[in-house]
């Protein structure tokens, strides 16, 4: 039956709350309103305002409160209303959520889920479209998960809530109302497994979250150019599945990593480095990255220039040294061109 990612996330929350009364859901506007994206729609009516409730508008407070609730034995799921609105909570996340298990040699754990609607492509004004995954992925102790399909949205969120460790659950806003046939409750591959979304022989596109549909579209378009591209959906940035990504690139010999976030020091850079370390002798071309620009997220009328689209992906694929010629941009300057 066709359903949207938003409905799948809502169903995952409802089913988790029905299965485990320790699960409590809170944040800004998640109660009566059902969240600004309606991900918590109906939860308060069904489970009562003790299990799904609004809080003061204070993100550090929301996450810190969740830490305390987890210490008392509950399973908090909190919503950060938008990516950039989660920044006030960063100290709580980096200093406590991520570290409590380690600081206490496992005596305390923080099984909380921090849901972050993230990334752009929805025409949002400033502070509503950041791709903030790298901040979390760079913080040991956090798991960082981002679904790209409806079934994954359900399954990964259920797994996040059941996980003994804190999970930053990054929901691509532009995919909220994407629709697919999915029988819920769906169970897909567990944390730590990337998935080949489209098999191909010539090159591997590695993508996650909002970049996965772009990669799939690019792979489809590439057929006209005669390229048969494989698409790997990372799904869980932490823990990262080197095995699936490496196996794919070793098969194809070429790799483009795609992310919507700005590129410098990003998750794509980490993936490209890992692929290069593990697949060097199987590679026919340098591992390339396609990402957003290294700029603050632009105003809505300019976001299409920023966002990596099919053309930018195909341009990168074209540079994968198909004729064994090195990319001229990276050649050492000759006397002639130095002038």
């Amino acid at each position: 039956m066709a359903t949207t990612m938003a409905k799948a996330l809502n169903a995952a929350l409802a089913d988790a709350m029905a299965d485990d009364e320790r699960v409590v859901v809170f944040g800004e506007d998640v109660g009566q309103l059902g969240g600004v994206f309606r991900i918590t729609d109906g939860l308060q009516a069904r489970f009562g305002d003790k299990r799904c409730f609004d809080t003061p508008l204070a993100e550090a407070g929301i996450v810190g409160f969740a830490v305390g609730l987890a210490m008392s034995g509950l399973r908090p799921v909190v919503e950060m209303q938008f990516d950039a609105f989660a920044y006030p909570a960063f100290e709580q996340i980096a200093s406590h959520v991520a570290k409590l298990r380690n600081r206490t040699r496992g005596a305390l754990s923080v099984p909380i889920v921090i849901r972050v609607p993230y990334a752009g492509g929805i025409g949002g004004v400033e502070h509503h479209c950041d791709s903030s995954e790298a901040y979390y992925a760079h913080t040991p102790g956090l798991k960082v998960v981002t679904p790209a399909t409806v079934a994954d949205a359900y399954s990964l969120l259920r797994e996040a809530i059941a996980d003994p460790d804190p999970v930053v659950f990054m929901e691509p806003k532009k995919l909220y109302f994407s629709s697919a046939d999915a029988d819920l409750p769906a169970r897909t591959e567990p944390f730590g497994r990337a998935v080949v979304r489209r098999p191909g022989r010539d090159a591997t596109l590695v993508a996650y979250g909002p970049a996965v549909p772009v990669a799939l579209e690019a792979a489809e378009a590439a057929r006209e150019e005669g390229w048969d591209l494989e698409v790997v959906d990372v799904r869980t940035i932490v823990p990262f599945d080197d095995e699936t990504v490496t196996a794919s690139v070793r098969r194809t010999g070429r790799c483009v990593v795609i992310q919507e976030a700005q590129g410098f020091a990003g998750v794509g850079a980490e993936i490209a480095a890992r692929v290069q370390e593990r697949c060097f002798h199987a590679l026919h071309a340098p591992v390339l990255r396609v990402s957003g620009l290294d700029i603050p997220y632009p105003a809505p009328m300019l976001e299409h220039t920023h966002l990596p689209g099919v053309d930018r992906v195909l341009d990168a694929v074209a540079r994968l040294q198909w004729d064994d010629e090195p990319d001229p941009r990276w050649l050492p300057a000759t006397q002639g061109s130095a002038a």
Partner: protein, 387 residues
Amino acid sequence: MTTTPQAVRRASPRTRRRPATPADPARPLLPDAEPVRLLDPAGTPLPARADYPEPPADVLRELYRRMVVGRRFDAQATALTKQGRLAVYPSSRGQEACQVGAMLAVRDTDWVFPTYRESMALVSRGLDPVEVLTLLRGDWHCGYDPAARRTAPQCTPLATQCVHAAGLAYGEAYQGRDTVALAFIGDGATSEGDFHEGINFAAVFKAPVVYFVQNNRYAISVPLSRQTAAPSLAYKGVGYGVPSEQVDGNDPVAVLAVLTRAVAHARAGNGPFLVEAHTYRMEPHTNADDATRYRDGAEVEAWRDRDPISRLETYLRARGELDDDAVAAVAAEAEAYAAALRERMNAQPTVDPLSLFDHVYAQPTPQLVEQREQVRAELAAEREGDA
């Protein structure tokens, strides 16, 4: 006309409307304009207060005993730092009434959220002093089991524990338990956002938390005047609808009386309570600090005259609750405590580098497994090189 704090208090409509409860008879939101005090600085009793009954004599004797042992522990920790056994030690000498009074005000089943300056409070709570000092010795971060001891790890990021206390207390109440959370915080940290978010969350959700501010007048070197323009830090409660009180933090009897009432207020379901204790840190911020750069000796000497231990000793002796023998016995106990700690801390702790990977996640990621293997190989090569 100037508005005195008393006038504000009388004028507060909330004060008049506030419903009385058995544990909380018409409790005004604003604190008394003057800190609650039951002993004068010399240890002479002041007129009794119906709202803050004096704790029983046996409790006060126990308070005295723990303060003496606590101070000796603190001095021993400072000495261990000078000997290089601890990386750093933030002393709470001079704050014994607060450190120990707070621990006598809570039950073993209550949760405590300490900062790095609460080592004395934690040993007073009965935690193993070596486990408490693990953080400062540096063989791990938190040396005790927080769940078993219902004591959160000593918190370094200022005020962040205030929100945890609110969540913990709410979660406990939600699950039908009558736990109270007591969160320690210093004067400087009341400027941090998480102090305000914590007290606000606790108030909105009526979480049973006691926020206990030890105002020792300096945040490292920065004086209170740079933290607040409020009449006192206790006045910060009113903006959140949280009743508050200020107390002479060097009067052990008053500290225990006020905190006992604050804990009862929280446990009875009335929500959080804010207590500010006016006290003084006699030592520098840590051994690495030079307090002469920001405060003069006369100020320190003036506070020495308000010493909380001699104040309580004088009072208990005058009441016939303490004599030379009892004082000597407590002093001997404190010495024995310090000697045992010294001996245990002289043993070099063993740390296993491979344990670094044990508690990052419940199950290590494949990447951590790889790194663990790499470190294991490095260590094996090192041992081979040594052999």
